[in-house]
C-alpha cells in the first residue's frame, strides 16, 4: 500500500478538488493530493481596518494554520510566498481600500504541502469570483538519492531527497 501511494518519477499522485463546501466564506475549496489535503476559505472584497487599508488596491492577507500546534516561522514564510503569488494574479486595483483574506487549514500532510496550499488557494480564488489576470498552480519536485527527479513527493521521499523545491 505504501508503494502504491507514492508517485514514481514523473507521475503525480491522484488529486481532486471540491469547491463551495463551506457556507460562511465567500469562496472555499478543498484540494487533495494523494493523502495531503488543504482547505482554503476566502473572504473578500470586505471591509478593512483603516490601519491596513491601501489607497490603490486590495490588501491581501494569508493565514496558514498547521494541523497541530500554533503557526510558527515556517508557516509565516509560506504565508508570504502565497501572498506574493496571489497578489500577482488578483486584480487588486479594482477593489481599492478593501481587504481580501485567505485562510488555509492543513487537514493532513503527507508531502508536497506547499504546492497543495497553492492549488487550494487558486481554486478558492476561482470559487470566490475575484477578478484574476491568470491562474496559477504548484508542483513539488524532489531530487532523489539516485539523482532522478521525483514529482509530488511523499513525506518519505522528501526526507531522503538530496534537494527539493516547489514553484
Amino acid at each position: 500500500a505504501m508503494a502504491a501511494a507514492e508517485g514514481s518519477g514523473c507521475c503525480l499522485r491522484p488529486f481532486s478538488c471540491e469547491q463551495g463546501l463551506l457556507s460562511r466564506p465567500d469562496g472555499s475549496a478543498a484540494f487533495l493530493q494523494g493523502d495531503t489535503s488543504v482547505l482554503a476559505g476566502l473572504y473578500g472584497p470586505a471591509e478593512v481596518k483603516v490601519s491596513k487599508e491601501l489607497p490603490d488596491r486590495a490588501a491581501l492577507e494569508v493565514l496558514l494554520r498547521p494541523k497541530v500546534g500554533l503557526p510558527g516561522v515556517a508557516e509565516r514564510s509560506r504565508e508570504q510566498l502565497l501572498r506574493q503569488t496571489c497578489e500577482a494574479v488578483v486584480l487588486g486595483g479594482l477593489h481599492p481600500r478593501s481587504a481580501v483574506t485567505l485562510v488555509l487549514q492543513v487537514l493532513s500532510d503527507a508531502g508536497s504541502l506547499l504546492s497543495c496550499c497553492l492549488n487550494a488557494a487558486c481554486m478558492g480564488l476561482l470559487d470566490a469570483g475575484l477578478p484574476l489576470s491568470r491562474l496559477f498552480c504548484g508542483v513539488t519536485c524532489a531530487l532523489g538519492p539516485d539523482g532522478a527527479i521525483v514529482l509530488d513527493p511523499t513525506t518519505r521521499q522528501e526526507q531522503v531527497s538530496a534537494a527539493g523545491g516547489s514553484p
Partner: protein
C-alpha cells in the same frame, strides 16, 4: 508568463472560459487609423461592450472570472460589429454597481445621512431627502435596523457608494422603507439573477402555492412576507434550496406542499 495566442471570441460563446484566456475580436478591415472619414459613412461601426468578467487588453478581451461566455447582438441591425460580451459567473460577495436595486440595512444615522450595510466592502450613504415627498420639515421615519430598498446613484471603486429611493423623475417606483415583519435572507448572486429573469418559473410556481410579498435585492438579499410565519419559512426554504434543486425536484417539493 505571456499568455498564448488567443481564441476568437465568437467561437467561445456558450463555453466555459477561465481567467487568463485572451479572446480575439474580429478585425475591422475598413478601420484605418490614419484617415478620417468625412461625409455619410456606409454603416457606423458598432461599439463593443465589455461586460462583467472581461477587461480590454492589447490583443482583445482578457477573461478575469470563470464562467460561461455570453454574447448579445446589437439591437440595430444584423451586422455583427458591436454588441456585448460578458461572462456569466457565480459568486456570493456583492460589489456595488451603479443603477442596481439593492436591499440595505440601516446601521447608523449621522446627521442628515443614513449609513446602510449593503454587503459590499463599504457602507453606502443615503440622504434623508432622497425619499419621495421628503422635505426638511417632512422627514422620513427611518430607524436603525430598518430595511431600505433603493438603487445606487454613485457606485465605483474610488468613491463611497450613494443610494437613493427615488428615480430620476422624483417618484419612488416601489423603493423606500420595507415594512414590518417579513423575513430577510441571503442567497448567491447567480440564483438571484435567475429569479430576476422575466417569467421566472420558480416565482410563478411559488405564487400558485400561497400569496406572498417578495423583494429581491441585487446584493443577494431577499425579503419575503406571507400571511403566517410558517408559510413565510416554507417559501424561504424553497428559495434557498432552489440553487441546488433541478426543476423536477422543485416541482415535486411544491406538489407535496400544496397537497398538505
Amino acid at each position: 508568463m505571456a499568455a498564448g495566442s488567443g481564441v476568437a471570441a465568437e467561437a467561445c460563446v456558450g463555453q466555459v472560459v477561465l481567467p487568463g484566456d485572451v479572446l480575439l475580436l474580429p478585425a475591422h478591415p475598413d478601420e484605418d487609423g490614419e484617415q478620417l472619414r468625412l461625409g455619410a459613412s456606409v454603416a457606423p461601426r458598432g461599439r463593443l461592450l465589455c461586460g462583467p468578467g472581461l477587461r480590454r487588453c492589447a490583443a482583445g478581451l482578457l477573461v478575469t472570472k470563470c464562467g460561461l461566455l455570453r454574447h448579445r447582438q446589437p439591437s440595430g441591425g444584423a451586422a455583427a460589429a458591436g454588441g456585448a460580451y460578458w461572462v456569466d459567473s457565480q459568486q456570493k460577495r456583492y460589489v456595488p454597481v451603479k443603477g442596481d436595486h439593492v436591499i440595505g440595512i440601516v446601521t447608523a444615522k449621522a446627521g442628515d445621512v443614513f449609513k446602510l450595510d449593503v454587503g459590499g466592502s463599504e457602507q453606502a450613504s443615503l440622504s434623508y431627502l432622497a425619499f419621495e415627498g421628503a422635505t426638511k420639515r417632512n422627514r422620513p421615519n427611518v430607524q436603525v435596523g430598518d430595511l431600505i430598498y433603493g438603487q445606487f446613484l454613485v457606485a465605483n471603486k474610488d468613491m463611497e457608494p450613494e443610494m437613493v429611493c427615488i428615480d430620476s423623475k422624483g417618484r419612488s417606483s416601489g423603493m423606500g422603507i420595507i415594512g414590518q415583519d417579513g423575513f430577510l435572507f441571503k442567497v448567491s448572486l447567480g440564483l438571484l439573477r435567475k429569479l430576476l429573469a422575466p417569467k421566472c418559473e420558480v416565482i410563478q410556481e411559488l405564487s400558485q402555492l400561497y400569496p406572498f410579498e417578495l423583494v429581491l435585492g441585487m446584493n443577494g438579499r431577499i425579503w419575503v412576507k406571507a400571511k403566517t410565519v410558517q408559510q413565510t419559512l416554507i417559501i424561504v426554504n424553497i428559495l434557498e434550496a432552489c440553487e441546488y434543486m433541478t426543476a423536477d425536484q422543485r416541482k415535486q417539493a411544491l406538489a407535496k406542499l400544496s397537497g398538505h
